[in-house]
Amino acid sequence: MDTFVQQLINGLTIGSIYALIALGYTMVYGILRLINFAHGDIYMVGAYAGFMLAVVLGFDANPSVFGFAVTLLGAMAIAAALGMAIERFAYRPVRKFSKMTTLITAIGMSLLIEYLFIFFFEPKPRSFPPLISNENHTLFGNATISTSQILIFVVSIFLMIALQYIIFYTKIGKAMRAVSFNLNSAKLMGINTDFVIAFTFALGSALAAAGGVLTAQYNPKIDPLMGVMYGLKAFVAAVLGGIGNIPGAVLGGLVIGAAETLVVGYGGYIGIPSTYRDAVAFAILIIVLLVRPAGLLGSNVQEKV
């Protein structure tokens, strides 16, 4: 029993990170019908931004909650600015063309960020300094949870609640919902859609950066291609939950994270070796899409042709 709980904690830890990244995919898709493939790399930029802030500001020397908070918020701010810049200079100019054009631009953007980082920061992995003192806490029996795991849960839950508040209880949130409902009508109603879109990118990027710093704190190794697999899995999570649907992204992330951990933990008993953990995420996606094409929580909207 405690082993199962332990595996579940392990799975939900990664799942929370997937969920944070998936939120950005899903929000941008909800508003622009665009899969922002550079989003996984924003997650990586967030981790690097956190790394540099921690080193420059000297938080790596003496771990403290204050240092961690500053690093986290700083990384989120840097990523938000980058997200807005990408939207302004890469996506906005091509937005009036076909959706395919924007999509290809997104792929180009992703590769550009990855290889710029390889060029400037070297492809070798770096070790992220510990910013908080990491300890183990026993829940019951053998089940333990580490401080960095608790941090991941607390911060991601807080961010998700904050996001929910922004979307449903603020003016800009109302505008976001309006734009996602119908961009042109929203524009006719006097909503500054360009600003709303930029804000959405900033919000999504900040969440991804938070994910990046939290992961780096948990698994202290960062490299310029760390966002590729996480980005892909988060994208799967967003589609699984129903792309465009915010609670769906969270649910999808948690399901993927828990599923792949349980595969490693218990797959051996049913003949699935632990190496197939990545394959499982994609298998789940295919099965769910066959049964529910709109995703777990997505509503089936007829496509406008």
């Binding site: 799975g11 959706k99 999509l103 070297e122 992995p125 333990t144 202290p220 632990s274």
Partner: protein
């Protein structure tokens, strides 16, 4: 929706192909390949990828050897020139850069790689072009099986795997072991197999076998599954990048067993990633920088002075491989590839920093291995014991403590100063263990 999937497949193919993008690295200045000018030697390794400390150490070790040889007048009056290529630690790139070294730079011999998967990808190119390749530190047996132009100056995995199994069973008195291997590396797969064989032979049981893929970030799922079965030791035949994090996550899960590994752990980066979690832990390795023998200490000093960092075993092996090559060029009296190959393969009793190097019929060096204990507090590996391959008797007979060099040795009839080193190391080992017992 259909469009969407089309787009998705396009994206996938682009992402996959991006992994193979060829960013041709610049090389040293290329001079004409004549019989009188500098002797050009190709070196390839990973200086920017996931195992970048391996390539950096290898490059440094070879540079030091070449500088020493050139300062002493070169080989047959000619200077050695290193042409280095970075393969970013991927087999595909390794193949590309060795082709460049062989076909474009026209090197007379190639030294590299560290990771067996990369050496395996590159070796056929050298064999095809009939250019001798000496790998300093690829331990997978398949590497030299590629052909007679491929040789190595290190021991191979069947020995390295069995060393750790012996250490676990005999010294640590372990009855059960779990293995967490890297599924994407030939090195790791080889070690897993040979550790298991030997450990079972010695009466132990492997109660859990798990794998991960390189670049994985989270190993807690595998470790949690192991935890319940309470293995006495955990064998992790991987590279330092993953190992540091695995150690950390194992300790976070409250698993305090000794962690065992191989030479893939040997990197200054390991301490940054794993920290205090790397205790208790032991690895099998090629040499110990603590060895007081003068050749080793001279090398350690020269290396430290030049690169401002202590040499790991990969640097020492690279240094030896360069010296073996220079020795072979001298004996072959030139750089004719067939003669050079024969001279390399005929290397016998070459006194290197990492021990006496004699190549056997399969062009593998038969040498002793050392077991090192990790000491994260000082960020260094402490010498624990020396383990000899079967058929190679330890220089000191167990019954006598005299430093006799007259000894039956299956590998060589003549003993040289290196066996003396091992003597010193052995007495050192006894000293260490007594000291440990006192603690």
């Amino acid at each position: 929706m259909k469009n969407f999937f089309l787009a998705f497949s396009v994206i996938f193919s682009i992402i996959l192909s991006s992994a193979c993008v060829d960013k041709s690295a610049n090389s040293g200045n290329v001079s004409t390949g004549s019989d009188t000018g500098d002797i050009k030697v190709g070196v390839y390794g990973d200086t920017t990828g996931a195992t970048s400390s391996f390539g950096q150490s290898t490059k440094n070790g070879i540079q030091l050897a070449f500088d020493e040889i050139n300062a002493a007048g070169g080989v047959n009056g000619r200077k050695l020139q290193m042409i280095f290529e970075d393969d970013q630690g991927t087999p595909e790139k390794a193949k590309t850069v060795i082709s460049k070294l062989v076909n474009q730079d026209k090197v007379v011999a190639v030294l590299g790689e560290v990771a067996s998967s990369n050496s395996l990808a590159a070796a056929p190119v050298a064999q095809e072009a009939k250019i001798p390749m000496i790998t300093p530190s690829s331990t997978n047996p398949k590497v030299t099986e590629v052909g007679d132009y491929i040789s190595r100056v290190c021991f191979i995995d069947p020995f390295q795997g069995s060393v750790m199994a012996k250490f676990a069973a005999n010294t640590l008195k372990a009855k059960t072991a779990a293995i967490l291997g890297d599924n994407s590396s030939d090195y790791s797969k080889g070690l897993t197999q040979f550790f298991e064989q030997e450990f079972v032979k010695l009466g132990g049981t492997i109660i859990n076998k798990q794998t991960y893929a390189q670049k994985d970030q989270d190993f807690k799922a595998q470790l949690t599954q192991m935890r319940d079965q309470k293995p006495d030791v955990i064998y992790i035949p991987g590279y330092y990048g993953e190992v540091g994090i695995i150690a950390k996550q194992a300790r976070e899960l409250g698993m305090n067993q000794p962690l065992l590994g191989g030479d893939g752990w040997d990197s200054p980066e390991l301490w940054k990633l794993g920290g205090a979690a790397l205790k208790p832990a032991y690895i099998s390795n090629h040499y110990s920088a603590d060895n007081p023998a003068p050749e080793i200490q001279n090398f350690v000093k020269a290396y430290q002075a030049k690169f401002n960092v202590a040499p790991d075993s990969l640097a020492a092996l690279a240094y030896d491989s360069a010296k073996v090559l220079a020795d072979a060029i001298k004996r072959a009296n030139g750089t004719d590839s067939a003669k050079l190959k024969d001279a390399i393969n005929a290397t016998k009793n070459f006194a290197g920093v990492t021990g006496t190097i004699s190549l056997d019929a399969s062009r593998n060096a038969v040498k002793s291995a050392v077991v090192l204990e990790l000491n994260p507090a000082a960020s260094k590996f402490d010498f624990k014991e020396t383990i000899y391959p079967e058929g190679m008797t330890p220089p000191t007979a167990s019954t006598s403590n005299t430093n006799t060099t007259m000894n039956t040795n299956a590998m060589s009839n003549t003993m040289n100063s290196n066996s003396m080193n091992s003597n010193t190391m052995n007495s050192n080992s006894t000293m260490n263990s007594t000291m440990n017992a006192n603690k």
